[in-house]
Amino acid sequence: MALLHIAEPGLSTEPHKHRLAVGIDLGTTNSLVATVRNGIAVCLVDEEGRAMLPSIVRYHADGRIEVGRSAMAAHATDPRNTIISVKRFMGRGVKDVAYIESMPYDFVDADGMLRLRTVQGVKSPVEVSAEILKVLAARAQASLGGELTGAVITVPAYFDDAQRQATKDAAKLAGINVLRLLNEPTAAAVAYGLDNAAEGVYAVYDLGGGTFDLSILKLSRGIFEVLATNGDAALGGDDFDHRLFCWALDQSEIDPPSSEDARRLLLKARDAKELLTACDEASIKATLGSGEKVDLVVTRDQFADMTKHLVQKTVAPMRKVLRDAGLAPEDIKGVVMVGGATRMPHVQRAVAEFFGQEPLTNLDPDKVVALGAAIQANVLAGNRKEEDDWLLLDVIPLSLGLEMMGGLTEKIVPRNSTLPIARAQEFTTYKDGQTAMAFHVVQGERELVADCRSLARFELRGIPPMAAGAARIRVTFQVDADGLLSVSAREMSSGVEASVLVKPSYGLTDDEIAGMLRDGVERASEDIDARALREQKVEADRVIEATLVALEQDSDLLSADERAAIDAAIAETREAAAGHDPRAIKRSTEALSRATNEFAARRMDKSIRSALAGHKVDEIQV
């Protein structure tokens, strides 16, 4: 290892200062929140001792919002205002959602993401998800007894940019500082890997309520490296419920059921599916609104048979992910099963058959994702200790590209690239005197743009008039550690520069989020200025503290003058933070941040050079 001993970045230097951080598994069916307490990851429970919060939100006419188990009670009586499985709508339009016609909601096909018309007005899936997150954050604050530094929120590995952005927006709306969006199978691998000191190549098969992910990870010396990921962002336990529900409709010759009856039967189907995990048969009994009775029995074999095409849909991703990783089934040391839907015996059989080994089912498939997220959150918040010397290297699940002439996709960032990644490509004008150029950013593996997901459109203007083919427009894609994309374009040859940043067209605009935040704050009757002040103070403290730690470690990298300038900036920020003007605090915090830019760069260089020194010696030793 590195021979020069220097303090590593991110290592907690003040052991007494424990920051409160949580991991949140925002699931299709259930959501959980977990934290690391005395070095052990635990799920936080509600007053009744339950960890799982059903991901159900009910909007009442009187303005109340109910979340979780109590909302579930109203699923069949007030289906229009009781939203279940909202995760399926995140970053999606009406035409993207499977069997939307059998859903009891009043959809509004807005530009980009769909909306739901409720008794409390039109709601975006982002707002609905934020309600779930608020309940979990409140549970965490009550349980931990303090304000949260931040949270790691998990997303399906196969979520595209629009779905990730929507998740991050929901957290923002819930007032949660997002430390990182973490892929669910990766979170599970962390929890499993650290717990079992696992080394080698593992597969994580994650079949949740509405999403399917398959990731291949290499675990070696504390590095969790995702080699490849694949999946289906619209396949999960819900689909098995729906299949059984359709079967029940067929058998009892009801068509079409009312919204209320459909909801009632769907939940009965889910109960039956869960029973079949342990029993050979289950009954579906319900009394419909008309007084008609449904009374059916389904056997485990019947159920396995009617849903085998769904299990089969997980096989192609298994094959693809292995090919992308350059591996064969026998290279896999263990298969970690995640998600409630992996309890179904015929799913476990299919996985065992494919990999030629029994999958690992010795962990709780419902909780492992939240626990892994909590472990990651603890480290990201700055509570890293010497023994937390592990690191996640994750990938982007789907290729990113641009639309070319003829509706073809040009891939810029290939799938399974390790994050963060930046890629640039040059384009040129095709007409004489052309002064603008339109770009269409897409995500997906298909050759035709029409088959990929449209993420954003933007235009680069102000290109100086030149002959066709003379302009050099450099388009840069940057994907950060959350898997989120920003794109910029720049005309290079003339020295005239223009650059654009895009947000997915399926996401919410900053104005929309600001508006929703304002509404939320008004309802919570919290003073918006007080909130801004509090946030600025927290930020100022954070920057001051980070600077002090850096000075303690590396002040030898600074001249006396440079040191004095930084000290002065710290003093100024401290003074501002003691006052009540959020803008003054912001100004001085930014000034401090600027004053330490060069210092931070030198520290980073020092760290990299010491790594280099370490390798040189290692090489000689080999």
């Binding site: 590593e8 990651q376 890293r384 941040s593 931070a600 980073m604 280099l612 390798h615």
Partner: protein, 177 residues
Amino acid sequence: MSIDLQQDFYGLFGLHRRFRIDEAALEFAYHDLQGRVHPDRYAHLPDSEKRLSMQWATQVNEGFRTLRKPLSRATYLLELMGIDAGLHTNTAMSPAFLMEQMEWREAVEEARAAGESEELAQLHTRLRQHSREVFDELARQCDDEHDYAAAAETVRRLMFMEKLQHEIDDALEALES
């Protein structure tokens, strides 16, 4: 130390500028560097440090990606040696090689049209074996003979072969779905 960390990937990972590299040493250095610069190490720090971390982690990933795969490593090495492999413009290849390529291509096309995934998988394996031999040749040209002009042509041949490999993959994928 006078290595420009931003530019030279070999320097970044503490490796000699050769085609043959110690892959384990590269991976070790990669993991060590990411452990120092990765955004997860800076998530609790001010934005300016987060930005710096993202730039570095991006650079380290780019370097690893470039050096890990033999073909991109060779292209990069030639570039450092001042040789433009002319990958996009210089497509003049020996007639024997082009003939061989055509034969491969026909075999792939036939197997695809007939929907023979077994045959495609075999072609895939054979092509991989063949390209391993060509890579050995490339290693000699780069590291022993220092004949970079010859190496550039070998790189161009390998690019053809890789493209064909991708076509087989795509055909297999299409047959499976």
